[in-house]
């Protein structure tokens, strides 16, 4: 049996030692780091929340309690639905979609400019300067925005100093700071897929469209955007996923009375010590993410391999 195992083509091709290294590395990664933790979390999300000592005891059984809590609220609650958590969830999704679209709108002209209009050295310079801000920690970038948007922050001080407004605008309280920060946080992940996609378009196609009398808008709509579709899908998916799962930016920038969905998970997990419910909420987040990716793939007919490059 053993000798049979080692005569498989895989071993023949790579040699025994290297083949074993490949297998160990890949199995360790797929099984121990990716699959088992997720499955265990799924299992935990259907269990009651019991202290570690009572695991496997009579109080540890399978239940839908945590998912019910997400939809209907606690059993003693007055409301028919759990408006607080559902509200946080809905807001997170809606704002994430908005952030994704805003990113797309902001990045498209820049990506097109760098890819097709700018001369090569300018393009290189622009790309390098695009990357530099994103080597800095997400927390510190949000912190920079916080300095701007705080109630006694730079923007308010300048505006009141000039005399445009009498009182500071509550940017943080109304979550303007948060939205700006979320758009800021992952804009690079929209820029590069877009740039790569537009870059591969033949300039002659644009010229041809122009020669045949198409307007600038029409050229973009009919030539550039269809060509850049994989890049657009890829950028949108990455930005949406990261925004929905963002924790660092909301920690720094969200107002004290609103929550981002991962913050809710964090609360159940670390502050309320209810790991099962935290897991259940995580599963909900995961499902939404997967649904989003699949929908994007279905609508725009791209393969998963094209999304992540």
């Amino acid at each position: 049996m053993n000798s049979y195992f080692f005569t498989q083509p895989f071993f023949k091709k790579n040699g025994k030692a290297i083949a074993i290294y490949f297998l160990v590395a890949i199995i360790f990664w797929f099984v121990f780091l990716v699959i088992i933790p997720q499955l265990y979390m799924l299992d935990l999300s259907f269990r009651t929340n019991v202290p570690p000592l009572e695991r496997g005891g009579p109080k540890d059984f399978y239940t839908f309690e945590h998912y019910q809590h997400f939809v209907f609220g606690s059993k003693t609650a007055q409301d028919a639905f759990n408006f607080v958590d559902l509200g946080v969830f809905g807001r997170t999704i809606l704002v994430s979609i908005f952030v994704t679209l805003a990113n797309l709108a902001f990045c498209y002209p820049i990506a097109f400019y760098i890819a097709k209009i700018a001369n090569p050295s300018t393009a290189r310079l622009l790309i390098v300067s695009l990357i530099i801000p994103f080597w800095i920690n997400e927390l510190l970038r949000s912190f920079a925005l916080r300095i701007l948007f705080a109630n006694e922050g730079v923007i308010n001080n300048v505006l009141t100093g000039i005399g445009i407004i009498d009182q500071g605008i509550l940017f943080i309280t109304y979550d303007i700071g948060l939205y700006t920060g979320l758009i800021y946080a992952y804009i690079l992940l929209m820029m590069f897929p877009l740039y790569n996609a537009i870059e591969s378009l033949d300039v002659n196609q644009i010229e041809a469209a122009k020669d045949l009398g198409s307007s600038t808008f029409r050229t973009h709509w009919r030539v550039v955007i269809p060509h850049a579709k994989p890049g657009i899908v890829s950028g949108c998916t990455m930005v949406f996923m990261l925004t929905v799962g963002a924790l660092a930016t909301p920690v720094v920038l969200s107002s004290p009375n609103t929550l981002w969905f991962p913050q809710l998970i964090y609360q159940w997990f670390n502050m309320n010590d209810n790991w099962s419910r935290g897991s259940a909420y995580s599963i909900i987040l995961l499902i939404i993410s997967v649904i989003f990716v699949l929908t994007m793939m279905r609508i725009f007919k791209v393969r998963i391999g094209e999304i992540i490059k």
């Binding site: 990664w29 916080r146 300048v158």
Partner: protein, 400 residues
């Protein structure tokens, strides 16, 4: 003014706005690192100072605001971040390499599934990877009794390395896949035909070919690990990394020491980026030269004579550097002239704030006294406390 001019102007304006949006906050934050005020701000500007990089300050109300070099929590966090980064590089690079090489050998039907699993971790939200690792290892630690497993299962650094490796391996995988796409398999076949063993082929051909990818994967893995927050905050348990320390600091209240930290990171980043760019250009030049030589040697008649221009060009960057130096020296002399730098300025600012603070303490005490005079009964909140909360700077300083 033709329409193309208008378009150009609009595009320039848009580029300007976009890059202001990207860099403006960072530049303003960098300036706040030099303001001596306790709250990171540009206006009102108190004094020019380096203290947020050094010792921090003891505020007028007695609390200590740590500077960059005296903050031991930050240092501990930095050390564990470095350890985790190293661990992740050691795990993720070999894993990514193995997975990428195997991808070239997998047959077509399995290939899609294999590829999907490989890139799945990037699509998981970071918080989920952190949580799933923690819940699994907590369970394993519980089952393992008092032994080694329970020890490492509750070790935040170990868990963080595992959790980060889960998705950082994918980054490495993608880097290796990109490099392997251009690999010429005939090299391997030639070596095998000449009698090399598979292990020799791996070490003598594949590894040297992949060397640049190994280097860039290691750098990317380290950086990704170093700045990760979403996964780390769950898996680190009771330990602290640089990012979790920063997060807890930001949450408690914001201090210019953080601006100082950010400025240091920005400086390091720019130096790294410039070095990388210079190295890359040198490499490109070398490559171009060797290609040219190759072509001229090939052409026997040497019709493609190329005269190498030896000239001296002033790089455009010099202008920017000179401008920067002039600006800095001008700003520096202005600051010195107006007595905005140094101990005397800071003392004056502190004194003013201290007296303000004392005034407000007095108001507070007076109000408490009048509360006593009321003689109980009416302990509810309907006394007039005056305007003691009027100064917003007062309570900002309590935040740390």
């Amino acid at each position: 003014m033709t329409s193309s001019h208008v378009m150009k102007f609009m595009m320039g304006l848009y580029l300007f706005i976009f890059f202001t949006y990207l860099f403006g906050p960072l530049i303003i934050m960098s300036f706040t690192a030099f303001n001596s005020a306790e709250f990171p701000a540009i206006t009102p500007w108190e004094c020019f100072t380096f203290r947020w990089f050094n010792e921090g300050k003891i505020a007028y109300d007695g609390q200590h605001l740590a500077g960059l070099f005296t903050d031991w929590r930050l240092h501990d966090g930095l050390i564990s971040s470095l350890i985790i980064g190293g661990g992740v590089v050691l795990l993720a690079v070999p894993i990514g390499m193995a997975a990428a090489i195997v991808l070239t050998q997998v047959k077509s039907q399995l290939r899609d599934i294999y590829y999907s699993i490989s890139i799945m971790p990037v699509l998981f939200p970071g918080v989920i990877i952190g949580i799933s690792t923690v819940v699994l290892w907590d369970r394993l630690a519980g089952l393992g009794g008092e032994g080694f497993i329970s020890e490492i299962g509750r070790n935040g650094i170990f868990l963080t390395i595992l959790a980060q490796t889960c998705f950082i391996s994918t980054y490495c995988f993608l880097i290796f896949v990109a490099r392997l796409q251009r690999f010429d398999q005939t090299q391997e076949e030639a070596a095998l035909d000449l009698g090399a063993s598979q292990t020799q082929v791996f070490f003598k051909i594949l590894i040297p070919y992949l060397a640049p990818a190994i280097a860039s994967a290691a750098v990317i893995a380290f950086l990704a690990s170093f700045e990760n927050y979403n996964t780390t905050v769950f898996s680190i348990l009771s330990d602290q990394t640089l990012t979790t320390v920063i997060a807890s600091k930001v949450r408690l209240g914001i201090s210019p020491a953080l601006s100082a930290l950010a400025l240091s990171i920005i400086a390091l980043t720019i130096i790294a980026a410039v070095t990388y760019e210079i190295l890359r250009r040198r490499e490109e030049k070398k490559y171009a030269l060797s290609q040219e030589k190759y072509v001229t040697e090939k052409a026997a008649t040497s019709r493609i004579d190329k005269d190498y221009k030896v000239g001296f060009k002033i790089p455009k960057g010099i202008v920017a550097i000179i401008l920067l130096v002039i600006l800095c020296s001008y700003g520096g002399t202005q600051i010195l002239k107006n007595d905005l730098y140094g101990q005397s300025c800071i003392d004056a600012a502190d004194k003013e704030k201290k007296s303000k603070f004392l005034d407000q303490l007095q108001v507070l005490e007076q109000n408490e006294l009048s509360d006593e005079e009321l003689g109980g009964g009416n302990l509810g909140g309907n006394q007039d406390y005056g305007d003691i909360f009027g100064d917003p700077n007062l309570f900002q300083d309590f935040a740390f």
